[in-house]
Symmetry: C2
Subunit: 385 residues, 2 copies
Amino acid sequence: MQDFSFYNPTRIEFGAGKIARLDALVPANARVLVLLGGESARRSGTLDEVLTALGEREVQVFNGIEPNPSFETLMKAVDQVREQQLDYLLAVGGGSVIDGTKFVAAAALFNGDAWDILLQGGQNVTSALPFGSVLTLPATGSEMNKGSVITRKSLAAKLPFASEHVYPQFSILDPVKTYTLPPRQIANGVVDAFMHVIEQYLTYPAEAPVQDRFAEGLLQTLIEVGPKALANPEDYQTRASLMWTATLALNGLIGSGVPQDWATHMLGHELTALHGLDHAQTLAIILPEMLRQRKAAKLGKLVQYAERVWNIDTGSDDDKAETAIECTRDFFEAVGVKTRLSDYGLGAEHIDNIIDSLTNHGMTKLGEHNDVTPEHCRQILLASI
Amino acid sequence: MQDFSFYNPTRIEFGAGKIARLDALVPANARVLVLLGGESARRSGTLDEVLTALGEREVQVFNGIEPNPSFETLMKAVDQVREQQLDYLLAVGGGSVIDGTKFVAAAALFNGDAWDILLQGGQNVTSALPFGSVLTLPATGSEMNKGSVITRKSLAAKLPFASEHVYPQFSILDPVKTYTLPPRQIANGVVDAFMHVIEQYLTYPAEAPVQDRFAEGLLQTLIEVGPKALANPEDYQTRASLMWTATLALNGLIGSGVPQDWATHMLGHELTALHGLDHAQTLAIILPEMLRQRKAAKLGKLVQYAERVWNIDTGSDDDKAETAIECTRDFFEAVGVKTRLSDYGLGAEHIDNIIDSLTNHGMTKLGEHNDVTPEHCRQILLASI
């Protein structure tokens, strides 16, 4: 086990009807900005439920945070916060809305050009507005972590930042709120959560048996509940397990004391920024060939993954690794997320541009050994067509 | 999965040499009371290391918190805090010292008779002094939770309390600090952590697959590292896994959203209060026959425990449950904790008194179904001789 610091003060309120807890969770004198994505929170009645729970508080609404939340949009919310002297934020939505709210919370109190927050990865964030979230889409884990990823459309750049100042004070997780999500969003959520675990688990053996067992438990649960969540949208218990699993996949716990990879995410961000693919789609495309490309370096953990997660107990180590990689691809396809660039209309002619963009963003030494180069990424993309 | 609230703001600093972080973790102007158990922290040099890290701060030391920390002793620390106007506590020790420090933190700011905190289980605690801990003994999980158990010698009573106000602000976990512990304390720690998981896991199936997987992962890890930690006291990685596993066994995570038992703990507390047995010894005695007594109600989970934790895949459900119970007893014995009342010089003649004491403390409806009666407990003790 490596040395680590772990700190996660976000309060989780889990269960049907927990939105009513907002009255106890948000300060009585707060001047609140509720931040939304598209129209779904309004249409589904969730916004009304939130406004009712907030009672007599001064509340304004900011609408229109996109998937892959944009700097351009979020700066409008920052302006509203400053002009209206609002002092509490409430994200109502999925990871994009929560990521965007984290940026607004930090940018509202930031001196200077707020884009610098992204350029410095959040190290220059010294304070942020307090905020909470009402999660409607299990996927990113943003509801219980300090990370955020923001896209600047004008630069085709998608960059992460992290700061202890942007932990949500609370997050309300009501599985019922996921019943009306389109299958594509549930499928993306399953893949996203699965990939968060993989990035913190599938590296090299690091004498961290508890972290390994927890990671394997999350993967096994996603394999078990992912297809059920798609088949039975109103099965409360299945949606509850999916929701809590997705949160635990990226709340800092399983990544404490172990090496981490994140190469698939970094390469995937370029595909989203340049070609608009869903985040989870990019991960489903890249992971199988990333694992094949890095098979030698990851063999110990690939065999463990094969044996413990996929119950593959025959064949050579290489056989087990190969079978586990194909099981992973099949799982993504089974929940409806296509795993080939060509499935999204992309081919060899796009790869130079993707690699140039990756290089320009400084992503030239990726992975747990910092040895995944742009040339490796080119091979991975070629194999992923 | 049941509804739940989860909140745990304790910061963990994990690794060799992390005591040096105290200077950053304790406020610069704090007037600190360092609380100790016996002489081991002084003898081992840990106290010197702590005092060095605290630098120029005003620091006083309170010595002599016992195993099963007593109200009588702790009230002396409360007096010292009040008289000397100290405003920050630092526990240096194991679970008893940390439990005791939680009580001092709450009692120092409590109006009225501090014993009421125990009588009301902490529901009347509205504030507490801030405090941190330096953990030297992996066992109780107190370093990352809001619970505490205090003994009042004059009443032969051992009672728990819990409050969000007594979460440690931070806990420093340095596995090297465990190298010099006597084998008995390591063995007790393994059993204690194991039992914390069992109490939150071995109830009835509750459609909480992630919590189950996490619990099973903790149990598997304890079975793997427990004997190694005894055989090789200075194996850093083994001690690190034991330490982190014991913390995760009772930090609120695996118990969120699932039924909990705790009957074995409640009955065990009486054995400690009346006969002075180590806490872990009482658990090792009671659990096997508790499980046998409750086998029908717990069969679903007992079979899952047998299959997933002990890899028992043959025989009837009853066979699997019986084998798992004996594996559990064998594990406790293998790490050196005896599992029979007679091993500790106790026999049938003591049982009436234990049951009377349990009844007097109101512990008449125990377990996840509130249906474990004093008469059940009598049968369990008789079978445990």
